[in-house]
Amino acid sequence: MTRATLVRANLRRRLRRTILTVLGLATALFLFVTLRTFLHTLQTVGDVGSESRLVVSNKLGIVFPLPMSYRARLASQEGVHTVGYASWFGGIYQDPRNFFANFGVDEDYLALYPEIVVSDEHRAAFMADRTGALVGVRLMERFGWTVGQTITLQGTIYPGEHQFTIRGVYEAGRRGFDESSFFFHHRYLDEIMRAQMGEAGFVGWYVLGVSDPDRAPQIAQAIDATYENSASPTRSQTEKAFNLAFVGMYGNIGFFLNAIGMAVVFAILMVSANTMAMSARERFGEIAVLKTLGFTDGAVLRLVVAESLVIVGLGLALGLGGALLLFNLVQFDFGGFVPGLAVTPRVALIAVAIALLIAAVSAAVPAWQSARLKVVDALRYVA
């Protein structure tokens, strides 16, 4: 028999209540970690964007194309060393639920992204094949594809079944960069456009490599001024700003997720504090007996705090552990727009801090009441 035996015995006293409290805490902490992780992931979308790349899109919105003819003029813009372009294809693989990002891109586009790491052999094979595709490693794993396999995508913007041959696999050269996209040659997309609409010569957006990131705002301003009165005015911004604007669409969602997370934690804090207070109140008589035997106020306080810590510790282990396991085992995929979810050490530490706060607040009142209760008064609870 040790003091730990006493703590364990007290926790088993109302086993169902202890289990429900632990599960409540675990659920709350799991939700909190999940929401924070999702928010953090959204925020990192901006971080993976580069300051040395400009994205030029149609001022009316990214769904409106820009003429291919802009390319030469953009390339001649002072401070721009490379111009690449891409177009959203919107192809579906077998089922609309199998969503992933698929783009037609030109050679320079890939050159602008050193984060897209691909072997020379795969790069050469991709470049040599008109219908070739370069696919992210996570997308390959998701569908169990192999290099050389022919993939059929059903067009949504460009109706019909379009075939691609996987010629290369890329990995992210930077943490947080997406590994779930499907790139193919823009010239193949041009063929499809011509076949279906009788014309080509449009791109979704341009990506510009700038020599001096500090001058990127001026370059963007100059480009937009150039096309201000054209049929397709532009909006130019750094890739980082472009990504943040994308995340900005989730601005309110972020606020609500945060609010929900805090509300859940606050609610469970109240529930846990009430449970601990009830548990201590029920045992004032026993606490009086312990004090009669010679247990000091401090010793009683430590017992109450220990019980609270065990309950919260179990809740934390289940909640945080569950989230860690889930996000490590299950590779959540947002179609390449958002990097996969992963619980960061910072989020885990916040969860631990919240758990400690819950333990402290839950134990504070009953511990204080128990410790301050006079033995003679406390013994009256016995009967």
Binding site: M1, G298, V375, L379, V382
Partner: protein, 236 residues
Amino acid sequence: MALVEVQGVSKVYHRDTVAVPVLENLDLTIEQGEFLALMGPSGSGKTTLLNLLAGLDTPTSGSIRVAGEEISKMKPKQLAAWRARHVGFIFQLYNLIPVLTALQNVELPLLLTPLKKKERREHAETALRIVGLGDRMHHYPRQLSGGQEQRVGIARAIVTDPTLILADEPTGDLDSRSAEEILELLERLNREFHKTIVMVTHDPHAAERAGRTLHLEKGALLEARGARPAPAGGAQ
């Protein structure tokens, strides 16, 4: 040799703005190895006196010395340590911890001693054998009769080999047969183990087992019956 010396002790409780005197200028001496019964009507101050002797409460005025130590001036933390070392308390309603076995209940006070785990267990087993519950060590309180529960309570009170055993109506919740067994056990602890026992009781039959009986009424000791001599060898 006097083990307990109570001199000029008064205790006044305050109920809102009203002062309620419970003990008034009380003097009492208890010899080592004595078995003393405290009787008196409800509200006479018996339990208050017992609580003062146990160091559970402090007197409003006066002094209490136990085994040479002035306990009436001790701070709460000192009193708690002193109780752990010197007092074994037996409650009327046993007050065992329901989620602990008999053995664990008896081991409880030993958590406050420097004894090792194995030694604590051995001491608790010995105490339970002394009270005749060697075969009920792993039973929970709910699996024991009232008399057996009180025996566990007595084992818990003696396991630390305290200077003083204080019993607050130890037979008050028991049937006559169980009460008789408990009284015999207390008598045996006094006679064979030379334990100094102070027992509060309403029952004159129980008080007859004690060597000396004191009557409390309205906070004052009114009558003292002749003491049976303390067993030779003294307590401890």
